[in-house]
């Protein structure tokens, strides 16, 4: 319950944070909202020499609009994203998903960027980010680079953010007018997702014109159910039509087996939850 000792730095700009990171050596952890890192440190599962806290960097906080994109600073808390009309209006799927993250206290501290870089496959932000074709802005000593959603999540707890780099923002293409639903399945409410499905669809005259679907905890990274997305196009937004298209939701996935369910059960859940998410999203 008491972390091992560490040195603490709280830079106030991205530039300072990057220099601190460059100077820190190997044994460093970057502290965002701290809602996963602090339990790790408390239980001494990790004991870094240095912790660099991004919490004092104002430029990493906040939601803004940039043309066709909504831009969310990496250090924006879940609570602030939840409260954002911009996000609700143009990327409602993310609002839906964040409302399901952990509990209110965690949402007051936890940050969207922190969660994405932590890359827990059971976390609730990855799948909607993937489904919304989010671009990830990564900053290093050489400047900024942008990584497409499909390239960001590399493996269990592993992302495209490289040594000496920070995720500084995400850019979400506006999905204005799209229906959305995050179907999270848990046994008790404060659990990580056993399986969750993020679905956002554009319905045109009762027919699904476009669909985007992300899967939570169906593999070592968040996954995109592209086959289902394609199968849904042109389908009526009815139970029967959607049911068929969603039957393949778990194809090609390799979900974990653990206390909460084995792989087969998770695959089954994915098909049920995908259908429910799509129907709810299509129904507005």
């Amino acid at each position: 319950m008491i972390p091992a000792s560490f040195d603490y730095l709280a830079p106030t700009s991205v530039a300072d944070a990057l220099s601190a990171l460059a100077e820190a050596g190997d044994d460093v952890e970057v502290l965002a909202g701290g809602q996963s890192l602090l339990p790790i440190l408390r239980m001494r599962l990790n004991a870094p020499d240095k912790v660099i806290d991004l919490g004092r960097i104002k430029e990493l906080q906040g939601v803004s609009e940039d043309g066709d994109h909504v831009v969310i600073g990496a250090m924006t808390t879940y609570a602030d994203v939840l409260a954002s009309d911009l996000v609700r209006q143009h990327a409602g799927l993310l609002t839906d998903a964040i409302a399901e993250v952990a509990d209110p206290q965690i949402r007051h501290r936890g940050t969207v960027g922190g969660a994405l870089v932590h890359a827990d496959p059971a976390g609730d932000v990855g799948a909607p980010a993937l489904a919304l074709d989010t671009e990830f802005v990564i900053t290093g000593s050489g400047g900024e680079r942008t990584v497409a959603a499909g390239d960001f999540f590399q493996d269990l707890f592993e992302t495209a953010v490289g040594e000496g780099e920070l995720l500084t923002a995400i850019r979400i293409p506006k999905h204005t007018g799209w229906g959305h639903r995050y179907e999270k399945f848990v046994r008790v409410s404060h659990q990580w997702s056993i399986v969750a499905v993020a679905a956002t669809v554009r319905v045109d005259g009762g027919t699904i014109a476009e669909a985007r679907i992300g899967l939570t905890n169906m593999g070592s990274t968040p996954l995109r159910a592209t086959a289902v997305e394609q199968a849904l196009v042109g389908k009526a937004a009815t139970d029967e039509a959607v049911r068929d298209a969603c039957a393949a939701a778990a194809d090609g996935t390799n979900p974990p087996s653990d206390l909460n369910g084995d792989s087969d059960y998770r695959k089954h859940l994915a098909t049920v939850l995908t259908r429910r998410a799509v129907l709810a999203a299509a129904g507005g």
């Binding site: 599962l45 269990l156 490289g162």
Partner: protein
């Protein structure tokens, strides 16, 4: 007869008094053990075995001793003489095998989490830092984890015992003359009636009190003072003396504010004894507070039984016999009550029913898992679950409503007092009235109607209705019964009433509350008996120096035994005061009557208040000749028998057949807990018990992997329900006063947790019966329910997978390998 100055005579008993305890608890003005700071106090951290079964071959403490702030690093060898032992108070048989349970192991580790060394340092952080530096060498041994495997003795939990079997205990109605021969009845039923055979798994649970255990030991001064988060300060004091050799008179144990127990703090623990040992060694006060992870692995667990059941009935559903064969996993050691837990269930399998024959057999076994002991209900929930599940199955077999099968078999109100087939005499009860009221509150018919509609339209969400009509024996316990069972102590309880000169009253109780509201309820009892205002009474408890006699709080005993002691002490005060009153009123004691705190001379206005007499005995200026100053009084109450609360619980759940998810829809219970002192407190006890029982049915299970590591070792994986997972309950009471104490009270602390588990599982199974499902193993997780539906007809156990998902995994690349170049922006979910 006129009584002047009549006080407002509203009785306190039965009044919904708001709790006295609340003020300090809602403002943070609390005194938890971990809050205590003493001059010169040091802090302890435990080095615990990660292995379930191992020999310790070496402990290198050198680096830890040199670490900043470290005062001592203590191993078992350092305190070999005098560290005491963690004791078993109830050898259930004369030949019970119980391995020695040392606080700090000498060389043999029998379960993960055992203490191998204790680091004492100036701060808690320094102690923890140094504990990481203690290097322990282990030779791992094969571990036996499952109770059924343990019976075979193929792998031994304690090789030097030569067996895993601790004790075999039996109760047979034919042998003791309380009923017929079980085998005969079962044979008859096989030929011409109904026989139902089931095996039920009572999964292992963790009590999960909210306050982690904490102990502060101050060895300075003439007496050693131990503050500890316990339900049993008196028992701990006795066992410290009995096992360490410290004279009992040199030990003072204090249970300050204690944050829940549920049986989990009905124990004397390795941590308490280890802290005591190191504090004596260094001669300074030492504090140890466990983390939640330590608590989950090292505090005792509950349940963990396999129940093999055979129920015999006639074709029309009249039960004739029940045979129960248990295997109970005790874990690595026999705890304080230990093997007595399943035995406490022995008298409850026949529940509220009239069976002709009954036999109960339990084999207790030792394994390399966390020790198992009392958890809310202790033996009685397991029994109630078994019989109530069987009664539902019998109803399905006969083809009648589950309520009907119960009514057909239960003890009628006009049959009380009733001696059961197990040999217990039930004091009072009225199952008919409680059930009728529950049915009404529940809208039983309406929900049955909805159920058939859903079945008809093949709704993916099915409705299930579960019934549980329970009774329990509470008020541990008549000392003569405990003696007959070879329990190591009595079952009496003590109280004192002190009448202070200023008119205030102190009630001292030997019970040791940790959330039950004794300060309020005992004040109500004393206020009525003494006729003094509720506010003027202070209830003192939980300190062996203030309340020197007591047997503490567990087993729904505090009110029925301890409350009665308060009554008797108060009555003695009144008797003593009467002598003084007669003297001061210049009347004959026979002419006095006592009402609302005043003695009056019958037929006159002449009177005096009891608090005035308290002042008079303080000054002692004018007392009767030869009267020994003082009207304080003590009383010890030892009940003649148990009391038997009962109730009817009805539960409706919705089961999503596509996902297996169960959602609570409605829960109604009508409990008869005898005379109620404070309805508010009774409701609270029922609510909390209900959810703990529901949690066993749906959510909780302690799981070990095949190495004996506790997989559910944190609140991430040991899934307690939250507010969002449950519903508001409908609770009511009927009242059949107990005949075993003058207040007419019965216990209520365990009722909810005993009754609710079968109600919920019965509801889940009821929802799925048309799909061919006849059983779902607890906890009824979505996965298990879904698999049961998939394999409908056959009972699918859908075993829990013994691994947890690594959300806080040190091996995860972003977490402990920063050289991959990524940064971990820690963030919850």
């Amino acid at each position: 007869m006129t009584v002047t100055e009549e006080r407002t005579g509203t009785p306190e008993i039965g009044n919904r008094r708001l709790r006295k305890e609340d003020q300090r608890l809602i403002t943070g003005r609390t005194r938890w053990t971990d809050n205590i700071i003493l001059p010169g106090m040091l802090h302890a951290a435990m080095v615990r075995s990660p292995h379930a079964h191992a020999m310790v071959t070496g402990i290198d403490t050198e680096a830890a001793r040199k670490a900043p702030g470290v005062v001592a690093v203590v191993t078992g060898a350092d305190v070999k003489d005098g560290q005491g032992a963690v004791a078993n108070a109830w050898p259930i048989t004369a030949d019970q095998k119980a391995p020695a349970h040392l606080p700090i192991v000498l060389d043999h580790v029998a379960c993960a989490g055992e203490i191998v060394a204790v680091v004492v340092a100036r701060t808690a952080a320094q102690a923890r830092d140094a504990a990481e530096l203690v290097d322990v060498d282990y030779d791992e041994l094969p571990a036996v984890l499952d109770a059924k495997e343990a019976v075979d003795d193929a792998v031994l939990a304690h090789p030097d015992l030569g067996t895993n079997k601790s004790a075999l205990w039996r109760l047979d109605s034919a042998d003791q003359g309380s009923g017929g021969d079980v085998d005969e009845e079962i044979d008859k039923a096989r030929a011409e009636g109904i026989v139902i055979e089931r095996e039920i798994r009572q999964q292992r649970l963790i009590p999960s009190f909210m306050e982690p255990r904490s102990t502060v030991v101050d060895p300075t001064g003439e007496q050693i003072t131990v503050w500890t988060s316990t339900q049993v300060p008196h028992i701990l004091r006795f066992l410290i003396a009995a096992t360490t050799g410290i004279p009992e008179s040199k030990v003072r144990v204090i249970a300050p504010d204690v944050g829940g127990g549920f049986g989990g703090k009905l124990q004397t623990t390795a941590e308490e004894f280890a802290t005591l040992a190191v504090a004596r060694l260094v001669g300074k006060p030492v504090k140890y507070t466990e983390t939640r992870s330590e608590s989950l692995v090292s505090g005792h667990h509950g349940r963990d039984q396999y129940q093999k059941l055979t129920l015999a009935a006639t074709k029309d559903g009249t039960v004739t016999a029940l045979k129960v064969d248990l295997i109970a996993n005790l874990g690595a050691y026999v705890g304080l009550v230990g093997g007595g837990v399943p035995v406490l269930g022995a008298w409850m399998y026949n529940a509220i029913y009239k069976f002709r024959a009954y036999r109960f057999t339990v084999q207790t076994v030792l394994t390399n898992t966390t020790w198992v002991d009392a958890y809310r209900g202790a033996g009685r929930p397991e029994a109630t679950f078994a019989i109530e599940r069987l009664m539902d199955d019998l109803a399905a077999e006969v083809g009648v409503d589950p309520l009907q099968i119960r009514e057909q078999n239960w003890i009628r109100n006009d049959e009380f007092p009733f001696t059961s087939v197990a040999g217990m005499t039930y004091d009072s009860g009225n199952y008919e009235v409680a059930t009728a009221r529950a049915v009404e509150l529940f809208d039983y018919e309406g929900l049955r109607r909805e159920q058939s509609e859903r079945r008809e339209r093949k709704d993916p969400v099915q409705l299930g209705i579960g019934v549980s009509t329970f009774t329990e024996m509470c008020g541990l316990a008549p000392s003569r019964v405990l003696g007959a069972l070879n329990y190591g102590a009595g079952g009496w309880e003590h109280a004192s009433v002190r009448m202070l000169a200023t008119g205030k009253v102190e009630v001292i109780t030997g019970t040791s509350p940790h959330g039950q509201g004794h300060e309020t309820a005992w004040s109500q009892i004393a206020a009525d008996r003494l006729g003094v205002p509720f506010e003027d009474i202070e209830v003192l408890h939980g300190d062996t120096q203030i309340a020197p006699r007591g047997l503490d709080t567990y087993g729904s005993r505090s009110l029925v035994v301890g409350g009665e002691a308060v009554v008797r002490a108060a009555d003695k005060v009144v008797e003593k005061a009467k002598v003084v009153a007669a003297h001061l009123l210049e009347a004959s004691a026979d002419d006095l009557e006592f009402s609302n705190g005043r003695f009056t001379v019958r037929g006159t206005d002449n009177g005096i208040g009891i608090t005035e007499i308290a002042t008079a005995q303080f000054t002692s200026h004018n007392l009767p000749a030869g009267f020994e100053p003082g009207i304080d009084a003590d009383a010890t109450f030892d009940p003649d028998d148990f009391s038997f609360p009962h109730g009817t619980h009805l539960c409706a759940v919705e089961v999503d057949t596509e996902t297996g998810q169960t959602t609570m829809r409605k829960y109604v219970c009508v409990d008869d807990v005898g005379q109620i002192i404070n309805p508010l407190i009774v409701e609270g006890q029922v609510h909390g018990g209900l959810l703990q029982g529901i949690a066993q049915a749906l959510w909780e299970e302690a799981v070990f992997d095949d190495q004996g590591t506790l997989v559910t070792g944190s609140f991430v994986d040991y899934t307690l329900p939250t507010a969002a997972d449950t519903i508001s309950f409908v609770t009511e009471n009927t009242t059949s006063p107990s005949t075993t104490n003058t207040l007419g009270t019965k216990g209520v602390g365990e009722a909810g947790s005993i009754a609710s588990t079968p109600a919920v599982v019965n509801a889940v199974v009821d929802a799925l019966r048309p799909l061919g499902v006849t059983d779902v193993q607890m906890p009824c997780t979505p996965k298990r329910v879904w698999k049961a539906i998939q394999s409908a007809g056959s009972v699918s156990d859908a075993a829990t997978i013994d691994s947890a998902q690594p959300h806080f995994d040190p091996g995860a690349p972003n977490q402990d390998a920063p050289d991959t170049g990524t940064s971990t922006n820690g963030a919850g979910q």
